[in-house]
């Protein structure tokens, strides 16, 4: 039986209303933009790297609760991680929210990000949850084009 709280958990509501790391990083090394035109979700992800590690991560943008909370929780999880660890986290998050994958990563591997497990039952909202992550990847790879998950 579907329950609204399975998708809209307290942590998601909290992060959507009070997003963390919600500022433009003026001295960032990397940044990228994401935009889903059909639903209007917009995000810019900023990164400051020290060597191979993420020293600071922040974002700006506007959109639905899922996309905002996803960006907020993402920036919290990135600090101190190496690029390889960030990529692994991206893959695990993608697996978590995509219905096609039968293996759900353990909560211990994802920490707070596991709160998005409800998204897998709402395929239409997967793009909202993954927009910030795809934008993050684009920031690390340094492409320059605006990312979309639509």
């Amino acid at each position: 039986m579907y329950d609204v709280r399975e998708l809209y958990q307290e942590l998601i509501i909290d992060h959507s209303k009070k997003p963390r790391n919600f500022y433009a990083l003026t001295d960032s090394d990397r940044s990228a933009q994401g935009y889903n035109p059909l639903c209007g979700d917009k995000v810019t992800v900023y990164l400051k790297l020290e060597g191979d590690r993420v020293q600071e991560a922040s974002f700006q943008g506007s959109g639905c609760a899922i996309s905002t909370a996803s960006a907020s929780l993402m920036t919290e999880t990135l600090k101190g991680k190496t690029r390889a660890e960030v990529e692994a986290l991206f893959q695990r998050f993608h697996t978590l929210v995509t219905k096609d994958n039968p293996e759900t990563p353990a909560v211990s591997e994802l920490g707070k990000l596991a709160v998005f497990s409800g998204v897998r039952d709402y395929p239409v909202r997967v793009k909202c949850a993954t927009l910030a992550w795809h934008t993050l990847r684009a920031a690390l790879q340094g492409g320059g084009e605006t990312v979309s998950t639509e």
């Binding site: 609204v4 709280r5 809209y8 209303k17 209007g40 609760a65 899922i66 709402y122």
Partner: protein, 423 residues
């Protein structure tokens, strides 16, 4: 008489005179019986597409099961039956909007194609550099983009008549925008995003003073209020089957005979020609000139069955019921703290766009979906309208004559749940 048409007419004649018995009407729509996320479906997305009564489903099935043949060619039995039903459907549509002649009914895929046809076939030969085309600030993209493309192609200018904060056309401003450079006016009869019913008689009168032809986008109007194209005196009228309880992929462009006769073909190929040689090809008269290729035969017959069904109930009765339901829905939605209605014109059809303060429309839509309630969220193919009201998106409720007050109550409970979840 084909099996499909016969069945449809017998159903109409056999039905007893109705007072508005919505629970009886709901039994005609099989799709309404289902559950969504364990809750009864509350379908409030009729402006996106409407549900289909059993007689329409039967008409579609019977065409393919008993009368399936191509039309206008062939001397065999099935072809004759299919052709008869197809052309009778044209007469049904003619009567529905009180067109003077069945040849003024062109079958197209839908309202978008109808407008594209006029923009290309009429617009290209009547609009030149320096001319103007006038639309309004509340149009659907299908009544904006074809004109933008035409203006760019011809070096003409697109003018946009403004609307007020209630979503009503500023008629004075509209009139000021008419001048001797205006070559076409294209306006929504009813706004899909706001529900506003435009003062189309006055619009047409004003345009005609400047000898400017008018197209009315009737996609959201034809299902909900009686349309009489002779009385309106519009040059073109466009509407779709799938919003009128009929199948997708079929719609009507009404055009005054004198204009259609002077218009060049839109799409070309089979069916729209009278003779083809490599030296010269001659085209058919309207409406066939504009109907290239094998038509959506089943769709046309299904559309006519939907019209018969609606006529059986009566558009005036449907309009009155929906009007009452709209009044109720407007009243109860306005009472929810945090809900802002977008589109509060004095004269509206059964469309309510709204936002919940601090909550994105998609989150509203998802939570409502969990309660079994289907609404549409987004920009509704009316991005300029959204921008006019300073919102990225709205949630839109659109009513039909099979919706009930109880369903509106479920919607309200769902919206209250949204405000609860988002604190």
């Amino acid at each position: 008489m084909s099996a499909a048409r016969d069945l449809s007419l017998r159903a109409v004649r056999a039905a007893p005179p109705l007072s508005f018995d919505v629970s009886r009407i709901r039994e005609d729509f099989p799709v309404l019986k289902q559950k969504v996320h364990g809750k009864p479906l509350v379908y409030l997305d009729n402006a996106a597409t409407s549900q289909k009564p059993q007689v329409v489903l039967d008409a579609l099935h019977r065409f393919y099961a008993a009368d399936c043949s191509n039309v206008h060619r062939g001397v065999h039995q099935l072809s004759e039956r299919a052709t008869k039903d197809y052309e009778e459907s044209r007469s049904t549509l003619q009567c529905f909007i009180n067109a003077a002649d069945h040849r003024e009914i062109v079958f197209v895929r839908g309202t978008s194609e109808a407008i594209n046809l006029v923009a290309q076939s009429y617009g290209r030969s009547h609009v030149c550099a320096g001319n103007e085309i006038l639309i309004t600030a509340m149009e659907h993209h299908s009544n904006i983009v074809p004109w933008q493309i035409l203006c760019e192609e011809k070096g003409a200018r697109l003018r946009v008549a403004p609307i007020n904060d209630a979503g009503e056309l500023l008629l004075d401003e509209f009139e000021k925008l008419l001048n001797d450079r205006t070559r076409f006016v294209s306006v929504a009869h009813v706004s899909n995003a706001l529900g506003t019913i435009n003062p189309v008689r006055q619009i047409i009168e004003m345009a005609h003073r400047w000898k400017v032809p008018v197209l009315l986008d009737g996609a959201q109007a034809a299902p909900h209020l009686p349309v009489d194209v002779q009385e309106l005196d519009c040059e073109f009228y466009a509407f779709s089957s799938h919003k009128l309880y009929g199948p997708t992929g079929i719609g009507v462009l009404y055009g005054k005979a004198s204009l259609l006769e002077a218009m060049a073909p839109y799409q070309s190929g089979g069916e729209m020609i009278s003779s083809v040689t490599f030296e010269k090809t001659l085209y058919k008269n309207p409406p066939y000139r504009f109907e290239a290729g094998t038509p959506n035969i089943a769709g046309t017959i299904g559309f006519a069955a939907a019209i018969d069904y609606v006529n059986q109930i009566g558009l005036k009765r449907i309009g009155a019921y929906e009007h009452e339901l709209l009044a109720y829905a407007t009243q109860v939605l306005s009472q929810i703290p945090g809900v802002r209605l977008i589109g509060t014109a004095k004269h509206k059809a059964g469309i309510l766009s709204f936002i919940v303060e601090g909550v994105h429309a998609h989150d509203v839509g998802t939570i409502l979906d969990l309660e079994g309630v289907a609404v549409r969220t987004g920009h509704h193919c009316a991005q300029p309208t959204m921008a006019r009201f300073g919102v990225p998106a709205t949630a839109r409720v659109s009513l039909a004559f099979y919706n009930t007050r109880e369903e509106v109550d479920v919607l309200v409970a769902g919206i209250r749940k949204v405000t609860e979840v988002f604190g």
